[in-house]
């Protein structure tokens, strides 16, 4: 896909069949064929559809069960949590685990660190990616093409390979154990993807827009800021969600680069095992709480997330 895309940069030829999985079609595909006019792969016979629905229901139950079990466990009493044999539902529902987990030293601070780190990293990633992607797509220079390929290669770098030199660099400039240092590390992950995502959003903006603005006396930067950016604001939102999620869920850099002051919640969750013995109840409660903001975000912005996911994968 990427290769097909770059060839588009050259001549601006229309997308061929190979570049086909464009997002809008992928996200709202079945719209076009409302009602009974089924075509292609869609199953028509009633018996077939019943069978398919049964299969889907079974898959969903299996797939959703692990997370539900985590939720149920978080409401069990500590003894019930490790009962032999285990039960699925709590015998007795309690909020004890939540009180234990959240009351523990450093847990609330770690939430604040996670939020801080994710926000700084998201802002940094957007500030760098939006102009870069615009420069790449709007002007189609050789350096732009080289740069977007280089950004793609960055995606193959294993975090463990740069984590340690990065940590010692941060220590050398006095940023050891700060949310800023971790945000920078997280931006090394989200920036390449952000550039790819934003490039495809800019690709969809017609050039006439800012040409009209420059004729009206806007500078190039002014046209970008006042005309183009508002048009791609939806794309910026998608990119921001991905940058935020990448930082929120990241663990390896957080483990390598944080000590007590800037520890994020994933590291605290992992530490539960060693520091406090196996307190499964509190661990599951904390894990559940940590997943809530993200699940809410997903509920609110599901369509955008699917769009970005498909685009991100197809492009980079």
């Amino acid at each position: 896909m990427r290769v097909a895309e770059t060839s588009k940069h050259d001549g601006g030829t229309p997308a061929t069949a190979a570049t086909a999985p464009s997002v809008p079609a992928a996200v709202i595909p079945a719209r076009k064929r409302r009602g009974a006019n089924r075509e292609g792969l869609e199953a028509g016979r009633r018996s077939t559809r019943t069978l398919l629905w049964t299969l889907l229901a079974a898959a969903m139950v299996l797939y959703g069960f692990p997370f539900l079990y985590l939720l149920f466990t978080s409401f069990k009493t500590p003894i019930d949590t490790i009962a032999v044999p285990p039960t699925i539902l709590p015998r007795e529902w309690t909020l004890e685990n939540y009180a234990n987990a959240l009351g523990r030293n450093g847990v609330l601070a770690s939430f604040i660190n996670s939020i801080q780190t994710a926000i700084i990293s998201t802002v940094l990633s957007l500030l760098l990616a939006v102009p870069a992607a615009y420069g790449i797509t709007r002007y189609k220079t050789l350096s732009g093409r080289i740069f977007i390929m280089a950004a793609l290669v960055t995606r193959m770098v294993p975090p463990v390979a740069i984590g340690i030199p990065l940590a010692s660099m941060m220590a050398a400039v006095g940023l050891a154990d700060t949310p800023i240092a971790l945000s920078i590390a997280h931006t090394t992950i989200s920036l390449p993807l952000s550039i790819w995502l934003m490039s495809s959003f800019f690709e969809a903006v017609p050039n006439d827009l800012e040409e009209a603005a420059t004729v009206d006396g806007c500078s190039r930067l002014g046209a970008l800021w006042r005309v183009v950016i508002p048009v791609v604001s939806g794309g910026i939102a998608v990119t921001a969600i991905f940058a935020f999620l990448a930082s929120w869920n990241e663990f390896l850099f957080a483990l390598l680069m944080t000590a007590i002051r800037s520890q994020t919640t994933p590291v605290v969750i992992a530490n539960f095992q060693t520091q406090f013995g196996l307190d499964w109840g509190s661990m599951t409660a904390l894990a559940a709480v940590y997943s809530i903001p993200v699940i809410l975000l997903t509920l609110l912005l599901q369509r955008k997330i699917v769009a970005g996911m498909t685009l991100g994968a197809v492009k980079g």
């Binding site: 290769v3 190979a18 075509e39 294993p158 975090p159 994933p266």
Partner: protein, 295 residues
Amino acid sequence: MRISDRRFALFLMTPAALFLAVFVAFPLFRLVADSFFKISPIAGGSRDFVGLDNYFRAFASEAFTGAGWRTLAYTLVVVTLEFALGLGMALLFTMLGRSSQIWRTVFMYPLMIAPIVAGLLWKFLMIDNFGLIGTLLHQAGILSNPNQIGWLSDPGIVLYSVAIPDIWLTTSFMCLILFAGLQNIPGDLIEAARLDGARAPALLFRIILPLLRPVIAVALVVRGIDAARAFDTILIQTNGGPQSASETMSLLIYRTMIRFGDPGLASAMGTIYLLGMLAVAFVAVATIWRPGKDN
């Protein structure tokens, strides 16, 4: 005075390029440089040039070669299962059409869960004694004893057990990409094949999969790279154990650095790992993708 378009484009790209140069390229350079030294783990400690010694030590160590094979096996298992399950779900969703929309969204949720949480969750499901999976299999009459399978304690199978959370988390990703690809297969093509009497397997292998090839290639490469870097889920489940049976490359490098305090050796391992990933990715891109031939 107006600057040229080319200058302006450069001006827009410079901050991001500088960022990647300072925070990715420079650490990588340090990694490669460190791999030629024997370094004391203590800050300000000794640093002696040893040439390729660290590389010889890496290749001579069983831990390293073992981790290499395990990473490969882990990646193959994760990507294969994910692809099979993801394709199955994508076909299911496609065949159900519009009415499956809500379920597609629900199916996406694991993607939002932190890998560390997923690892923890599955450890809890598979752990000896009070793990639910063993108990359920026992109650279903499949196992004679709930602890018959030591998911996370049997060195023979642990590498596959620790892969489960990864598969659980990212099958949705595979499904989503393949679903998007399936939407772009023209309906009349399928109709025509059906009229010609093509049955389901022929339809799948002769028409659908070949048409999906570019999408499949992207999905496999992207997920392959990610799976080969797996760290969080394995660390929290087994920490590489028992007896290093689930120690993949990322874990080994991490432990060489942190636990055994050998930055030089860890850097050499990291360099080899990085080169390996780049090589495999480029070969994959060149062969599966066949740039140019798609156009």
